[in-house]
């Protein structure tokens, strides 16, 4: 059965992460991970700050590495800018990025969360994405081993993705995860601008996640996933970050 592991105790176990890495479960959902009031505060702040989006194409605060696969210098320049914005956004509120890092580090007691830097430059701490009515996120995967090969974070054994839901939409905006892993041979199903052809998901088992504000969802992003069209008037807003596990040095990296 391809389903989620649900946690209501604000903690996860190492075996749960292993289950999503090896595909026994689709995801981990930690209910009420981050207080709703704090989510509201963050939304209010980013709405008032008049922040420039990272690119014209995406309604994001902060760069995401996959959009800069061969533009490292630009990525780190924009990451620096974004990290300053996040610092202001999270000032005097419990920092959600640190809270996510803490729960991950607790589930890997023998590993150390390492500072994620490259040539004295910091990776982006997270990306905040706003999806408006009518927007969907097509079928895709995230795999830094493949597309992020020019970055040091690509030298990891496993990757997982954490998505904190800061604001939900009234209808739509559900995350579907398919029980099918990306392999290089599936690049023949690529679409020009973004993601993969829907034929890939035909007859594939799926788990649909309707997240609530404050929930943290953890997935192995090498499994194909998508977000259905936002149909409500309220935007869907999420904070996303990746973690990479390096077994040799027992280190964990994070980036966006």
């Amino acid at each position: 059965m391809w389903n989620s592991i649900i946690s209501t105790s604000n903690e996860i176990q190492n075996k749960h992460i292993k289950n999503i890495i090896n595909g026994q479960n689709s995801s981990i959902i930690i209910r009420n991970f981050y207080e709703k009031e704090k989510c509201k505060k963050i939304i209010k702040r980013i709405s008032e700050m008049n922040i420039e989006n990272d690119s014209k194409k995406f309604n994001h605060i902060g760069p995401f590495l996959m959009n800069y696969t061969t533009r490292k210098e630009e990525y780190f320049k924009n990451a620096k800018k974004a990290n300053n914005i996040f610092k202001k956004t999270f000032s005097n509120i419990e920092n959600p990025v640190n809270k996510i890092k803490l729960i991950i580090s607790k589930s890997f007691p023998n590993y150390k969360i390492a500072e994620t830097r490259e040539n004295i430059q910091d990776y982006a701490e997270c990306t905040i994405r706003r999806h408006v009515k009518g927007k969907s996120i097509p079928l895709h995967k995230d795999n830094v081993n493949y597309e992020g090969i020019e970055y040091n974070v690509s030298k990891i054994n496993n990757q997982f993705s954490c998505i904190l839901h800061l604001q939900e939409t009234e209808k739509g905006g559900n995350l579907s995860i398919y029980k099918k892993q990306w392999e290089k041979k599936l690049e023949k199903f690529r679409e020009i601008e973004f993601g993969y052809n829907d034929n890939l998901k035909k007859n594939i088992e799926t788990n649909v996640i309707k997240s609530k504000v404050g929930d943290l969802v953890i997935i192995n992003p090498n499994y194909f996933h998508e977000v259905s069209k936002i149909q409500g008037n309220t935007d869907r807003v999420t904070l996303g970050m990746f973690f990479g596990i390096q077994n040799k040095d027992k280190k964990i990296f994070s980036w966006a």
Partner: protein, 95 residues
């Protein structure tokens, strides 16, 4: 605006050429392109491939081209019908 085709790299032919299995063609291209076509790389913007052409080898092309989804902006055509093109990755496949 130059013609653009997209597809997956297959056989590496030399240190700067390969066969492309064409999957997409830009609307408004000046001609219809075959499903399999030889591409001679004029320049490249591909993760893992050095910018400097003198560092390209069939081995590193093998790693970054074969099966990869590629965008080819066509510059010209040789008398044999091969395409001389700027080759790059095509947008983001992930978030």
């Amino acid at each position: 605006m130059s013609d653009i085709i997209w597809g997956n790299g297959s056989n590496i032919i030399s240190k700067n050429s390969f066969q492309l299995d064409v999957t997409h063609r830009k609307d408004g291209n000046s001609e219809k392109y075959e499903d399999k076509i030889k591409i001679i790389m004029l320049e490249a913007d591909l993760p893992g491939l050095p910018d400097n052409e003198s560092e390209w080898t069939p081995e590193n092309l093998q790693k970054v081209i074969v099966n990869a989804f590629l965008k080819c902006e066509i510059n010209s055509k040789t008398p044999e019908g091969d395409l001389i093109a700027k080759v790059s990755h095509s947008g983001a496949a992930g978030y």
